[in-house]
């Protein structure tokens, strides 16, 4: 008896809810989507006069940490522009591509989108973005030249660079001392010498060879493709020499296989004292503090390692404006506004990152921190010193992502399957050239 009535109750309740839901959502549901981002754009345009304009701004993982800052900039922009509303949305880093692709297919992309360089080039290659060399010509010279290039796919730049991170070196003082070193390494060559001794004495790894060869090789003066993005420049005697050296190190057991295959996370290994030094953006140093406070205590930072070429890699976050935006000019204005000197400086002070605008980088904020006890602050000082050397090494081509992948896969293959560097690089050249022709 009870069983029957139970099922009846549950089913009855579910049906009731269903009916309520159908009636409730058809009337109440539309209220939530009025003027929301999901509405087709023609509706949005109709109700808007020239004075009342709305643009949508999408960022990557900045909320809730920087809510106050972003909202402050938006308020300032709205105050300067009568009748303008900026709607801010934030999306998780891993989902941004999917989100942008799906909203592009239904024609309601945000007006200003925060993108990483690889994905930016893909979108630019699809012809979806506004050319900033033209649209933002008046502010172009305010930005570091090497950084402004980040949205370049060979025929113009399709984004305004926002915040930048260059690298510092985080190193474990305790491990280095155990191995008999008082000072950190400063060049790649030195770092390998250190690695050998550290590995022997402590069992920890030194140099980290991550699957990011496409940004590592230019540090050694070997660009992956030519500057105009038309042909592969990877197959040189220097490249063969570099790969041969790295393969030797791998055969000696000095390269952590997990990191090489992107299966292990460097901060976690560093926190376990299995890695003695790590070149990365100082804003990531504190990750170690979160994982193992004691190890962070024993750490210090130094300028990033340099190779034969006196350059440094910069990771750049960009702001792009889609061509299909209703208010292209306004969107470009906003992108320029949030990346101007004043706002970037304020952001750097909050977030431990670097600005893409020359004027902001000259601020006092970046000349401090050399004597700080906190490796992250100190590292940021070193990183800021390198802004002049900073370049975006992302391949200037819409297939940058595929090319980077094929470079890394080939390299991993050479090390792990005992391949021949010379042959591998020759094959790689062919593969890259065919990807460039696509």
């Amino acid at each position: 008896m009870t069983r029957k009535s139970n099922v009846q109750n549950i089913m009855g309740f579910a049906l009731l809810m269903f009916i309520m839901f159908l009636t409730g959502c058809s009337s109440g549901g539309s209220g939530t989507s009025d003027g929301a981002a999901g509405e087709p754009t023609e509706d949005a345009a109709q109700g808007e006069t020239q004075e009342e304009r709305t643009i949508e701004f999408m960022t990557i993982s900045l909320s809730p940490t920087f809510d106050e800052y972003i909202n402050g900039v938006i308020d300032a922009f709205e105050a300067e522009n009568e009748g303008v509303t900026v709607e801010w949305k934030d999306a998780p880093y891993d989902q941004i591509e999917q989100l942008v692709m799906t909203s592009a297919s239904s024609g309601d992309l945000p007006d200003v989108i925060n993108l990483n360089t690889l994905f930016l080039k893909k979108l630019a290659g699809l012809g979806a973005l506004v050319n900033m060399d033209e649209a933002a010509a008046d502010v172009k010279d305010d930005y570091f030249e090497g950084i402004w290039q980040s949205g370049d796919i060979g025929d113009g730049n399709f984004a305004i660079p926002w915040y930048v991170s260059t690298s510092g070196l985080l190193y474990n003082e305790k491990l280095l001392q155990e191995a008999g070193f008082d000072t950190p390494p400063s060049t790649f060559e030195e770092a390998w010498e250190y690695s050998e001794v550290i590995y022997e004495k402590t069992g920890a790894y030194g140099m980290v060879i991550a699957p990011n060869l496409h940004t590592q090789m230019p540090l050694h003066g070997i660009p992956i493709v030519s500057e105009d993005g038309t042909e592969a420049t990877i197959n040189t005697p220097e490249a063969v020499e570099l790969w041969t050296t790295l393969k030797e190190k791998y055969d000696q057991g000095l390269v952590h296989k997990g990191i090489l295959l992107d299966q292990a996370k460097v901060p976690e290994l560093y926190a376990q004292e299995k890695v003695a030094f790590w070149t990365t953006g100082p804003q990531l140093f504190r990750q170690v503090n979160d994982l193992a406070p004691e190890v962070y205590e024993n750490s210090n930072s130094a300028p990033a390692l340099v190779g034969e070429a006196e350059v440094q890699n910069a990771s750049i976050m960009n702001l792009a404006v889609p061509k299909q935006s209703e208010h292209v000019d306004l969107a470009v204005d906003f992108a320029a506004f949030i990346t101007n000197s004043e706002h970037q400086l304020a952001f750097s002070e909050e977030a431990n990152i670097l600005p893409s605008v020359k004027e902001a980088a000259e601020a006092e904020h970046f000349t401090q921190g050399e004597d700080s006890d906190d490796p992250a602050v100190k590292g940021n000082f070193f990183a800021a010193q390198q802004l002049e050397l900073a370049q975006d090494f992302t391949i200037p081509h819409e297939n940058a992502g595929e090319i980077a992948e094929v470079v890394n896969k080939t390299f991993q293959g050479v090390l792990i399957n005992d391949g021949d560097p010379k042959q591998a690089l020759a094959d790689l050249e062919t593969q890259i050239n065919s990807l460039l022709q696509e």
């Binding site: 099922v7 269903f18 981002a37 999306a91 998780p92």
Partner: protein, 292 residues
């Protein structure tokens, strides 16, 4: 239903505890425990991290399982950082419909497929089942466009509608209906029951274990669904827990302790539902015979 596991206990008591049996059970239990620990250690590890204070290392050698400065601050901070009650409400709403709708539709579709004779029945069934072969990634963009055309963007309905029909549910319930002897139905017809009564009063109660199983499966998938609600719901105040908690993952530094605490908050309802429904879940797994 009665007491669970009543058949097992007397059996244990009756049989003498011979040496052979003890070793046999010992070996079995050892492997079972090993298997269980494999699945439960990550969970315990997460609890441990979520209770760790700022001074406690997450990665240390040897690992620290019991937090030295244990604290509930991480939970409090999660609560203060993201609007948990709002997310929870959205998750509950989405899940209620995300579970009840496919349950209702599966039962209504499975019954004729299992019990009624009509032309093309087999073909129809195969057609429904074959949709299970298409990966959801493939249908995502078309589905998005349809929802957009229906003007359901940014509504809960847009999240729920695509999942309201479940070929998997239809398949399982059809199997369950097929397992019920025809005689029961026939005797009901003799007693003057109509089709609806047979369905509602006789067959549905008999497949309760399967309904419970589906309930758990739908609940878990709906509660944990992430990408689809993220795509459809633009408005943050409508985000479910899974999407909302993602905010804890910062751009620069991720606070692992907060993430662990957030994961625990999201897990508690799942565990509660599982415990509440687990008996029918087990029943379904072993329901090979029907108790008259």
């Amino acid at each position: 239903m009665g007491q669970p596991s009543t058949e097992v206990k007397p059996y244990l008591k009756k049989e003498k505890w011979s040496k052979r049996k003890i070793t046999r059970l010992g070996v079995i239990y050892f492997f079972l425990l090993l298997l269980a620990s494999f699945t439960i250690i990550p969970f315990l590890w997460t609890i441990s991290i979520s209770l760790k204070g700022d001074g406690d290392p997450i990665f240390s050698m040897p690992p620290q399982f019991i937090p030295e400065h244990w604290t509930l601050n991480n939970f409090i901070e999660v609560w203060n950082t993201v609007p948990i009650p709002t997310y929870l409400r959205n998750s509950v709403l989405l899940t209620i419909f995300g579970v009840s709708l496919p349950l209702i539709t599966s039962a209504l579709a499975a019954f004729p497929l299992a019990r009624m004779k009509f032309k093309g029945r087999q073909f129809l069934f195969i057609l429904i089942i074959s949709t299970m072969m298409i990966p959801s990634e493939v249908t995502m963009i078309p589905m998005y466009l349809v929802i957009n055309e229906l003007n359901l963007m940014g509504t809960f309905a847009g999240v729920i509608v695509p999942g309201a029909l479940s070929p998997f549910g239809i398949f399982l319930l059809r199997q369950a209906f097929l397992n019920i002897p025809k005689e029961i139905e026939e005797s009901a017809i003799i007693d003057g029951a109509n089709v609806w009564q047979i369905f509602w009063r006789i067959l549905l109660p008999m497949v309760k274990p399967m309904l419970g199983t589906l309930c758990i499966l739908f609940f878990i998938s709906e509660w944990n669904s992430f990408l689809w609600p993220l795509l459809i719901l633009q408005d943050e105040s409508m985000h479910p827990l899974t999407v909302g908690l993602y905010k804890l993952q910062g751009t620069f530094v991720t606070n692992t302790r907060l993430i662990a605490a957030g994961a625990m908050i999201a897990l508690i309802p799942v565990i509660a539902v599982f415990i509440a429904l687990q008996r029918s879940f087990i029943d379904a797994a072993f329901s090979s015979s029907i108790k008259g």
